[in-house]
């Protein structure tokens, strides 16, 4: 009996050591740029989520759609390669970039300092939005009213940190954050009274709440900027520049405006304030000057 157990234990140990050896033994070699890989293979792997309307979601027929999806298509077209979409969620999008599963992430990704330590971002941000807190009409007036209250956050969103910081800075009691697996679940929890407020980027809240949004209102304004940017792997300047240039070209040649108007323009599906577009103030370089680098 003893011998049998010993064998089993050895086998397990062997399994574990093979696993960890396989994982650990592959650092250190010089990486080729993602740009070379993408051009060679003719395919770019783009990570996009599918549950953050109107940025990315599945329509009634189950087709992947949204602003992020259209933008990713345009970028792949401009790069002259085929697009291979990889589904990510708000938790996995950074890890997938870090471990090389995807070449870029176009998925309602706000540029934050903590993320910048793990990945890089193409410039400029392609949509200017921000975090708002959202609650039943007439419940709260100011953000500080949320002190000590229950707040729903989609797990993986930087709203988790941002809302606590915002309330803390106003010297409020720390709120109780409940994390859900999607923004739709956050909104459902808000409707059922499981939480007092729901916080996320204003554009996504509008998309998730849809017609049911009439009973709810934002509590004060945006408390943390959400500068949606394209995520690229860390320390690959060649690829990052290429993506930035392609994005800026799209902004200059009108393709970006076309997609923007389709979704967020005055006649679009989810009209947004004009300030959502990454446009410099008219005092800077003239009217409607896009936020791109000159040649």
């Amino acid at each position: 009996m003893k011998k049998f157990n010993w064998k089993r234990r050895m086998a397990l140990l062997l399994c574990l050591s093979v696993m960890s050896g396989g994982l650990a033994g592959c650092g250190g070699k010089k990486q080729e740029s993602v740009l070379d890989k993408v051009t060679k293979e003719g395919v770019v792997h783009v990570g996009t989520a599918n549950n953050n309307p109107p940025m990315n979601y599945l329509d009634e027929d189950g087709n992947w759609t949204g602003f992020d999806v259209d933008l990713a298509d345009a970028i792949a077209e401009a790069l002259g390669v085929k697009i291979e979409r990889v589904v990510v969620n708000n938790k996995t999008r950074i890890s997938f970039l870090a471990n090389g599963t995807v070449d870029m992430v176009v998925s309602n990704l706000s540029h934050t300092r903590s993320r910048d330590e793990q990945i890089d971002f193409a410039e400029p941000a392609y949509l200017w939005t921000g975090k708002i807190a959202y609650a039943k009409k007439g419940m709260f007036n100011e953000l500080t009213d949320l002190a000590g209250k229950r707040i729903a956050v989609d797990q993986g969103s930087n709203a988790y940190i941002a809302i606590q910081q915002a309330i803390e800075e106003a010297n409020g009691e720390a709120p109780e954050i409940q994390t859900f697996q999607s923004n739709a679940e956050c909104f459902l929890a808000l409707k059922q009274g499981k939480v007092d407020a729901f916080t996320q980027d204003s554009v996504i809240i509008a998309g998730v709440a849809g017609k049911e949004g009439v009973d709810y209102e934002p509590i004060s304004g945006i408390y943390s900027p959400g500068l949606y940017s394209i995520g690229v792997p860390l320390d690959d300047s060649k690829w990052r520049d290429k993506v930035s240039f392609v994005l800026q070209d799209l902004m200059k040649n009108g393709k970006y405006d076309e997609i923007y108007d389709k979704w967020f323009g005055p006649d679009g599906m989810y009209p947004l304030e004009p300030s959502a577009k990454p446009v410099l103030s008219k005092d800077a370089f003239g009217e409607n000057e896009l936020y791109v680098w000159p040649d």
């Binding site: 592959c26 938790k91 890890s95 797990q155 988790y160 859900f180 059922q192 009274g193 499981k194």
Partner: protein, 233 residues
């Protein structure tokens, strides 16, 4: 694969605290839901073995519901739907309770497992040869006597290995409580991933935890089987 492991990032300060809390919460989920599942399971088995057709029918329907609906749906049912079934006052009280998600997870896990456990116990009882019971009756033993000395000892021995398998399954299923924002180990690791982005490290951590718990559990079970439940003849 080009990936540099950074264990320090996920095992410091607040994150370590989350992990320890997560371990505690996971273990309490595992123990409570398994105990409740076994209790309900035994209860339903008697219903299923009942000669009363109505009780037999109700227990069979219950078992089928438990076994044929995914555990995750049970969890979501108890969290999102169950409170809505009550009058408004109770509904609001349930929905504003901060423990709703924890108890919804316990309820979902227990009910999902109880159907299987009931079938396992029934199998154990049915496997006791009918001739032994007939012989006991003919020797003048009472019904209670027969259950205590003939059916149960053999039934427990029969159903012990599949019961342990099912409990190990239930232990793994506790990770589903993540979807209800229960702060168990999976939630802790996912939350740490979403802040530090060290996805591989935290997943390995959670894997080691489940592996250890289930390894210990199955070892204890096989020890119990050999030394406590072994036939002494």
């Amino acid at each position: 694969m080009n990936y540099e492991f950074d264990w320090q990032a996920i095992l410091s300060g607040q994150y370590l605290e989350w992990i320890l809390q997560g371990l505690q919460c996971s273990i309490s989920l595992m123990i409570l839901s398994s105990l409740i599942a076994v209790a309900i399971g035994v209860f339903v088995t008697f219903g299923n073995l009942s000669t009363n057709p109505l009780i037999h029918f109700i227990s069979s329907v219950y078992i089928e519901l438990c076994r044929n609906i995914p555990t995750l749906i049970w969890l979501l049912f108890f969290y999102y739907v169950f409170p809505e079934l009550f009058p408004e006052k109770i509904e609001i009280a349930l929905n504003s309770s901060t423990m709703l998600n924890y108890w919804a997870a316990i309820a979902g896990l227990s009910i999902s497992s109880s159907g299987y456990i009931s079938e396992i116990i029934r199998g154990g009882i049915m496997a006791v040869p009918r001739e032994q019971i007939a012989a006991a009756y003919s020797l003048g033993h009472s019904k209670a006597h027969i259950w205590k000395y003939i059916i149960w000892p053999q039934a427990i021995r029969n159903c012990f290995p599949p019961l342990v398998t099912r409990i190990i399954h239930n232990v793994k299923n506790t990770s589903l409580a993540l979807s209800l924002s229960v702060h168990e180990i999976m939630w802790a690791t996912q939350q740490i991933e979403s802040i530090t982005f060290r996805g591989l490290e935290v997943t390995i951590l959670a894997t080691i935890f489940y592996l250890t718990i289930n390894f210990v559990l199955s070892h204890l079970a096989s020890l119990a089987e050999k030394h406590v439940l072994a036939t002494k003849n």
